[in-house]
Amino acid sequence: MKFIISLAFKNLTRYKRRTLITAGAIAVGIMMFIMIDSMLAGAEFESVRNLKWYETASVRIYNDGYWENRHQLPLDINVPDAEGITAKLEDAGYTASPRTVFSGDMILNADDFGEDGNIPVTVTAIDPQLDFDIFHFGDTLAAGRFLERGEEAALLGSWLAEDIGAKVGYWITIITRGNGGFYESMDLEVVGIVNCPNPNVNRGLVMMPFDTAGDYLAMDGAATEINIKLSDSADVEAAASDIQKLFNGSGLTALDWKYMAADYLALAEAKRGGTGIILFLIFIIAAVGISNTMLMAIFERIRELGMMRSLGMSDGKIRAAFVVEAAGIGLIGSFIGVILGILVNLFVVNIGFDVGFILRDMDIGYRIQSVMRGVWNVDTIGLAFIAGTVISTIVAFFPTGKALKMDIPACLRHQ
């Protein structure tokens, strides 16, 4: 065996160029694998974070009947006494904040916007003193200021503001139907513009103060939802059922973000399957490369092979010699690939790729806005290294088997 290993490594240096080219192909495959996996894991990680930070919070309390009617954004299927419930949650050790979400038409006045217009919007009424404890709009302000309780003011997502040409100081009018069905119109001054990293939010966000909306819409102290924040490591399902217990019998339901974002998570799962195929293809290419190299290497040495077989070297040992040789190429390639992968990943993790121009007008399902960053994943790097070596080793079996099928005189005659 010692002899076989030393022969294999001497043969690697015999065809330096070819060894390096094949190892290089494996290295590139492994580098791509590490990079793609890092970017996708990063996008997923950030998406989940942005989903929780700007859309769903960790757990949300709704009226029992709200979830199945959520697309209509009903105001009458609500959480009554939002203040009392928020207080009760705080007593139980949770951080909570009420919100009222409703749909309406936003009227744009020619005085400010140059021409009249209107667009349908979803308005989120927030409590300016509580909401930033739950959601993370705190550091997203792009212009102006945040809301204050009781004022007739609005905050817009920066992409929406850009689309309609809104600036701080402009006035907008929201026409909607209040709780009970009456028409109501609200004049709000745009006091701030936020650049929310979650594109789904940034594309359509209109925020106003919770109490102002409550007055206009006759909510009588009710909210459409109470949002609760948990630590990142919390078991949200368990927490949701704990919270549910606090409100049993009161007609309220606590849902965790995984339940609310089931559509997104299903999509992410499907995407992972798709990217698995890409990664599989990268490895197939590397495998074909090494298989070809080994085939060439073996047929160039076919007379040597005939000599070794004549002298009584068993098929098993001959196979071992070539397999060790391929493993050597795989090892070199994997090593270089991991080094390159780590170098590229330094860039991907710390600087990232700006894909804002794609995401601005197209929803690719990820909740990331502009810069796509990777994450470090030691498991992936280890897996890439092992896979590169193991696949090279396995692949060498096929060309060796092909050569061993030839009879010995044919090997010896080979030119």
């Binding site: 004549s310 002298l311 009584g312 040992k317």
Partner: protein
């Protein structure tokens, strides 16, 4: 020691069949220095391959040391060759990345021997074939004749019963070829190894103790000197 009994070997060459050996019978004793002679295409390589247990015959039987090698399976043949047979090839077939020493020691690595014994036997045989001091040279740093000496050392190092050499001098100039033949003869006398080599060179036949002439797959003459 070697009994070749009415051996027939045909090759399927597309549609037509080539009759390479048409009933060859031959006995070779231990320690003989036998040349298989004959023109190109007469069946020399085919016969050596069959004796060397690296090819299958169609009819007849070959027995070596009372073992019927012609009916062995692949693994048995491999084992038999490893233990009993040495080969010398027209094109030397040394492994270019290995030194002369390693090319010879390779054969012993297939057997269960201690490192000391491998070293001892390899150095001794290299000295015997006249390569003392050149152990660490790669084949590319050796002349054709020296390379064939390495090949002879490789064939002999495990003390096989039989060494088979298919046209061992065909790639060498006549002077060098003669030296190689002298060396083989010397080894044959010293170790008592049975040598069977093929050639179509009349000069080579002069060195043989016995010349078996093949023609069209049949033995035309068989002369001992």
């Amino acid at each position: 020691m070697i009994k070749i009994d009415n051996v027939v070997k045909n090759y399927a060459n597309g549609e037509t069949e080539v009759k390479a050996l048409r009933g060859v019978s031959l006995n070779i004793d231990r320690g003989e220095f036998t040349s298989i002679a004959g023109p190109s295409g007469s069946g020399k390589t085919t016969l050596l391959n069959l004796i060397g247990c690296i090819d299958k015959l169609d009819q007849g039987e070959i027995t070596i040391k009372s073992e019927t090698v012609s009916s062995m399976n692949k693994n048995e043949k491999t084992k038999f060759r490893r233990k009993n047979l040495g080969f010398v090839f027209q094109t030397y077939n040394l492994i270019p990345v290995l030194s002369a020493y390693e090319n010879v020691a390779f054969v012993l690595s297939l057997l269960d021997l201690s490192e000391d014994e491998v070293r001892e036997r390899t150095m001794t045989i290299l000295k015997e074939v006249g390569l003392a001091g050149m152990e660490n040279r790669k084949p590319s740093k050796l002349s054709g004749g020296q390379q064939q000496r390495v090949a002879i050392a490789r064939a002999l190092v495990k003390n096989p019963e039989i060494v088979l050499a298919d046209e061992p001098t065909a790639n060498l100039d006549s002077g060098t070829g003669e030296e190689i033949l002298k060396l083989m003869r010397e080894m044959n006398e010293k170790h008592g190894t049975t040598f069977i080599f093929s050639t179509h060179d009349p000069m080579v036949m002069d060195y043989a103790g016995r010349v078996v002439m093949l023609h069209d797959g049949q033995i035309k003459s068989d002369e001992r000197k």
